[in-house]
């Protein structure tokens, strides 16, 4: 049981890491352009929490959302193709790296305007509550986003209406170059839920097993009709904010210290120590992840570009009143 879980989580994190590093390589080669916000260092958050979720749950994310999409089983090829701007991408090549969508996977999107995602999650939660659905919404956001008014407005609505929304803060301590103490008076984001009636807790976001357990507990509570919960994951991004950011505002020492807490290494070592996995098992997971990513790149590279500029600006009207006398 523990072995299977550990194996799954380690594989997912290896896939996430390899996928993002490959994306960076493709960016350097000009296959991906514009904005590219990568996830290395933060893998335990998306992997741990989303592996605790049910297939019917909804996810609202940010521009740093590739791994969230992967964890919802959006095919890696469709995610890579979207970054390449190809028609086979999960948003048909119209969205790009910051705007992954997959209705089929209940993945409600990557968005590029910080803080504007909270109300979207509330809307989805309202719909679920109306329909007495057993599903919930997982809303991911950075600690910088908690400074927007929409954060507090949304927490209030979620608590007031007891909506099934799990807010997951990826506190990587930086809002681009702004260290958390320079952006917020209260730096522990979960504490900012209290005033709005949203309970929360903080968990080590570099420890995937801890995140997984905390997310399971939180999801159980949210799914049980007890209203929203705010799970804060204390994490760190190893790369710059995006490919355009060198991250010169952080000392080499700081980065090195955090890299020593690498969530992949952390789980790997524990798996070996506890005899859950051996070196060969881990090597096999490595190989598998590499193969999947290689195939995703091949798929994206061979895919055609979309060719209709006007498609999708408007949806043809559906007749809401069809069938009425």
């Amino acid at each position: 049981m523990q072995r299977d879980l550990v194996k799954q989580l380690l594989y997912d994190m290896l896939l996430a890491r390899r996928f993002e590093e490959a994306a960076a390589e493709q960016y350097t080669q000009g296959k991906v352009a514009g904005f590219l916000h990568l996830y290395p260092g933060e893998e335990a958050v998306a992997v741990g929490s989303l592996r605790a979720a049910e297939p019917g749950d909804y996810v609202v994310s940010t521009y740093r959302e590739h791994v969230h999409a992967l964890m919802r089983d959006v095919p890696p090829g469709a995610v890579m193709a979207e970054m390449f701007g190809r028609a086979t991408g999960c948003s048909g090549g119209y969205g790009g790296s910051m705007h992954l969508f997959s209705a089929e996977h209940r993945f409600l999107g990557g968005y590029a305007i910080v803080g504007e995602t909270f109300p979207v999650a509330i809307g989805a939660g309202y719909w679920l509550a109306m329909n007495r659905s057993p599903d919930v919404v997982l809303c991911f956001f950075g600690e910088g986003a908690a400074n927007q008014g929409t954060f507090h407005e949304s927490l209030n609505m979620a608590a007031l209406w007891k909506l099934p929304v799990l807010f997951i803060c990826e506190n990587n301590h930086y809002q681009i170059g702004t260290e958390v103490h320079r952006q917020a008076a209260v730096v522990e984001v979960y504490k900012r839920g209290c005033g709005n009636g949203v309970p929360g807790r903080r968990v080590d976001g570099m420890d995937v097993l801890a995140v997984h357990q905390a997310a399971r507990d939180a999801l159980e509570q949210v799914r049980g009709g007890n209203g929203p919960f705010l799970l804060e994951c204390d994490t760190y991004r190893f790369r710059g904010h995006s490919m355009a950011d060198g991250g010169a505002y952080r000392s080499a020492l700081e980065v090195a210290e955090l890299k020593a807490r690498d969530p992949l290494l952390n789980l790997r070592n524990r798996a070996l120590e506890n005899g859950w996995l051996n070196e060969e098992d881990i090597e096999a997971l490595h190989q598998k992840a590499h193969g999947v990513v290689e195939e995703a790149i091949r798929f994206a590279g061979q895919s055609p570009a979309p060719d209709d500029l006007y498609q999708g600006v408007y949806r043809r009207p559906l007749d809401l009143y069809a069938g009425r006398p």
């Binding site: 090549g93 400074n147 500029l309």
Partner: protein, 345 residues
């Protein structure tokens, strides 16, 4: 018109930029303007997400915090709406905020504070307070920017009384217009373009201003008048230079300020050419193109020898990928095609 306060007069600059000065980068020119304003007036302060980052807002704010301190040059929490109100409140009390944004898209979060508050106080309180503030942003472009990081929003703001809108296209203007905007006693928006930020140009040292509300000829010709601002002009200039080989001489007007608008320079040129093409970095529908096109029909119908034309963005969001982007943004070829059609008639 109450807003033009006599700013728009018939004076027209023949030469684009002065011949004297050093060659300077666009971002550095803005940096100099901010430096001069901060040194000149203790009420000036510069804020925005990333102004003290090593990236320094494309370099425009580099070194300013070290020089003027963190109380006057500071990074902000991600709270655009609130921050716009903070600027307004400070401005009402005599300060002169310069609120910097990486992208105009982020200003949309603060529309209420800008459109319903800042622009209206001076009118609503019968002139008891003024709101001298500058809001700056750089329009994004390039595949991968997508629909939420590449919007040109000047068209959305054009119809708001009480605001001024500036769109420079050279380093000289970027510095001079920034200094003029800071000195202005009203809310002034400055929209730069990401692709101009690496441009070099001749920029004098020290203080000077470029008046708000005054256009300038970038190219003289008698076959057609092309009107626009910012990066749209670059494209128009390329097209015009291409067509000169075929004997088509375009006259190009850089408006520099969209509001107040230098109607005089447009009229002067249109009277001569009888043809007008309006170019803009934003959507053609309902924006700068539409407004100036309408003005031409309304005021200068007698000058017109052919229908007004506009080249802006189609009525769709920005697609993410490279291929569609080639169709989305008008290039010199497309502008040249429109000019050809117009001049033939």
């Amino acid at each position: 018109m109450p807003w033009d306060e006599g700013l728009v007069n018939s004076l027209v600059y023949e030469a684009p930029d002065p011949g004297t000065g050093r060659s300077l980068g666009y971002a550095k020119a803005i940096n100099e303007a901010l430096d001069i304003a901060l040194a000149h007036d203790p009420g000036v302060f510069v804020l925005g997400q990333g102004v003290d980052d090593p990236g320094a807002m494309f370099g425009t704010t580099r070194g300013l915090q070290e020089k003027y301190g963190a109380a006057r040059v500071f990074d902000t929490p991600l709270s655009e709406e609130g921050m716009m109100g903070v600027c307004t409140g400070a401005a009402m009390n005599g300060m002169r905020p310069v609120y910097m944004h990486n992208r105009p898209d982020f200003i949309l979060l603060a529309f209420n504070q800008l459109v319903t508050h800042a622009s209206k106080y001076h009118y609503m309180d019968n002139g008891q307070t003024t709101v001298p503030m500058v809001v700056w942003a750089a329009i994004g472009r390039g595949w991968g920017s997508g629909a939420q990081h590449s919007q040109s929003i000047q068209g959305l703001l054009l119809g708001v009384p009480g605001l001024k809108i500036v769109m420079p296209s050279t380093p000289y203007d970027a510095k001079g217009l920034m200094l003029a905007a800071i000195a202005d006693n009203n809310p002034v928006l400055i929209f730069e373009h990401r692709w101009l930020m690496k441009k070099d140009g001749t920029v004098p040292e020290g203080f000077y201003t470029v008046p708000l509300g005054k256009g300038i000829y970038r190219r003289r010709g008698s076959d057609i008048t092309i009107v626009g601002a910012s990066h749209a002009l670059e494209v128009a200039l390329q097209a015009a230079n291409k067509l000169a080989a075929d004997g088509i001489e375009s006259e190009i007007i850089d408006l520099r300020t969209l509001k107040p608008l230098d109607e005089q320079i447009i009229a002067e040129s249109l009277k001569k050419t009888g043809k007008i093409l309006v170019v803009d970095t934003g959507w053609a529908m309902g924006g700068v193109c539409a407004e100036i096109g309408c003005l031409a029909a309304e005021k200068w119908f007698d000058y017109l020898k052919s229908p007004v034309r506009r080249v802006g963005l189609p009525d769709i969001p920005t697609p993410a990928g490279y291929t569609l982007e080639q169709f989305y943004y008008p290039d010199a070829e497309k502008v040249a095609g429109v000019i050809r059609e117009m001049v033939k008639k």
